[in-house]
Symmetry: C2
Subunit: 361 residues, 2 copies
């Protein structure tokens, strides 16, 4: 999980992070409450707070720690949650755009927004731009498993992927697990419909071959299946954006179903209610461990800067966790690690790469 503490961000610009203050269901209040927590966790970090200056000034007046850490920059507009990415790209004075411009211009090392996901991905790719070594940025996040946290990517940035894309996701997932989970040699699995070498389509089989010949070979566990994600079989699970998005949301849905059924169980009788009270400390620990806020912060990786998407409906604690993830990436030389990893791969045109999703070579 993201580690707090007072490490000094190694950044060239004046700000560790630019914060889109106006994105998310409960913005700007929840964002500022989150920064009040984050400012205590990262006492040396400075944040560029972008949004409606008058509102933000008033809100900061009641949040002394955030006020000390933040510089406000005015943005006249905010991107609505349902605006299409193509439309969002044309809104030059939105809080999201101005925050992202600060990353592109080198003023801030990263940006955190709880706003429109599609808009953030599009602005990230077009304004911050991909690392030159990367074909396509990917969306990554951390989830719970029986053996610690697990990194899953891509979560929807790339619906159709070729084998090389999957290999690049493995390199980025490796760097992410090192930076954010603090692992020294994360194990990597490629999501498939079976663990045998012959399973799956050509795309995943070719990606597996490429990984076995890459510098990541020692960390590559081979194919993993859906149940391996929560089993913690590997530290990093690599897949295309379609499958990853479905897997993430299916897992979340399953957790949610059990949660609501347990609520029914513990209110179903007087004895069950009493049982709940007795088991409550342990159940609370479980709830805390499974808390989606603890896993908040999906990261668009492969860009010339750190771009973190907080869940739109999260609260202050969730937003503070998204800031933790961004700070971990900023302080742990995340992008340098990716560039080193990619430089060690053979050049893109060496292996024959099939058309995305093609059935036969």
């Amino acid at each position: 999980m993201p580690q707090g503490g007072g490490r000094e961000p190694q950044v060239a610009g004046s700000f560790a992070l630019a914060i889109d203050a106006m994105g998310g269901d409960h913005a700007p209040d929840s964002v500022l409450d989150g920064l009040e927590i984050a400012a205590e966790r990262h006492p040396k970090a400075r944040f560029l707070l972008v949004g409606d200056e008058a509102r933000l000034t008033a809100l900061l007046a009641k949040r002394p720690r955030a006020a000390k850490a933040c510089t406000i920059r005015h943005a006249a507009e905010a991107i609505p949650g349902d605006m299409k990415p193509t439309a969002a790209l044309r809104v030059r004075n939105s809080s999201m755009r101005i925050a992202i411009d600060a990353v592109a211009g080198g003023e801030a090392a990263g940006v955190v927004s709880a706003g429109n996901t599609g808009a953030l991905m599009a602005l990230g790719k077009i304004v911050v731009k991909s690392l030159p070594e990367i074909d396509r940025p990917a969306l990554a996040a951390i989830g719970p498993s029986a053996r610690g946290d697990v990194v899953l990517l891509d979560l929807g940035a790339n619906i159709v992927c070729d084998p090389r894309n999957l290999v690049e996701f493995a390199v980025m997932g490796d760097a992410f697990a090192r930076a954010v989970l603090g692992l020294t040699s994360p194990s990597i699995g490629l999501l498939n419909v079976g663990s045998e070498e012959l399973k799956g389509d050509d795309r995943v089989r070719q990606a597996a071959e490429m990984l076995r010949e890459s510098p990541l070979a020692g960390q590559f566990h081979g194919f993993v299946e859906g149940h391996d994600i929560t089993a913690g079989t590997v530290d990093v699970v690599v897949t295309d954006g379609f499958t990853g998005n479905v897997a993430l949301k299916t897992g979340e849905g399953a957790f949610k179903l059990v949660g609501s059924l347990l609520k029914q169980v513990f209110t179903s009788s007087l004895a069950a209610k009493l049982g709940y009270l007795l088991a409550r400390p342990a159940l609370d620990r479980l709830r805390e461990w499974m808390d989606p806020r603890r896993y908040n912060g999906a990261v668009l990786i492969g860009l010339n800067g750190v771009v973190v998407k907080s869940h739109g409906g999260t609260d202050a604690l969730g937003f503070a966790h998204a800031v933790d993830v961004a700070m971990d990436m900023v302080t742990h030389r995340f992008n340098e690690r990716i560039r080193e990893g990619l430089a060690a791969l053979p050049p893109r045109n060496r292996p024959v790469v099939a058309e995305p999703g093609a059935a036969a070579r």
Copy 2:
């Protein structure tokens, strides 16, 4: 869920089902124990029990209900769990093959096996053969949701699918939900990375267009996401075999993780143990409701006969449920429904069908 009861199977042959007695981790004992339960639930059904005659005769002697319902047919061999499908196809005197031959020959309306999945799928397709209207058979199963049971297909029979395949899966899923869940007008969703019309790849968007113009239009809910599976947003969730397999196993993995964490919770302290005892009746009901055995029985649909795969590791109760699913399909004119549904679709060559997984039209 599968309904028991004494409905008379509407079958031409002498047997409702052929049973592969030798497939599965605990075969033949668990299979025979399962048949002892199934024989009581389906008192008028006759089963063709295929396997080692001497062993089966001895086991049936201790299971009077199964003994009354079964006729033994000897098979000298059994397909090992790790045998490749291509090798399994060459073993002519295996219990699985002889059971499937009985379906292909019209002696039995369906087959149930807890053996090698790949072998069963290959034998089903090659020996029982696809319905002439169907391009590709699919693997379907039932899972739990917040609003009742949900049908998910394809679960791995077709790794790469085109839009027409997905539409055919919808027709088959509709027939399956009617036959096994007893629904009169099941709602159908197409799994995607977002619910908006423009989300996803061309493949799912084209399939959605085709469904909106098909006789299923009134039942078609549109796109659904991973979390909609367990939310019960629709009765039938349609997807390709790669995504469906990952979704199924990810959901199972998530349930399993919560289960093992709850076990830790309720043994973590004396108070928690006491709390468990008090809440136990309600927790037992929850466990029963979530019991994987209640959802046992994946069905290879689209064939000239009913082919049901029981989980290899299941026990007697799980096997009996797989028999229930097969009996429901046999008694509810399942294949006739599929043929009617497919006859109502426009012919395959009318809509322009993209290459599987192609990114652009």
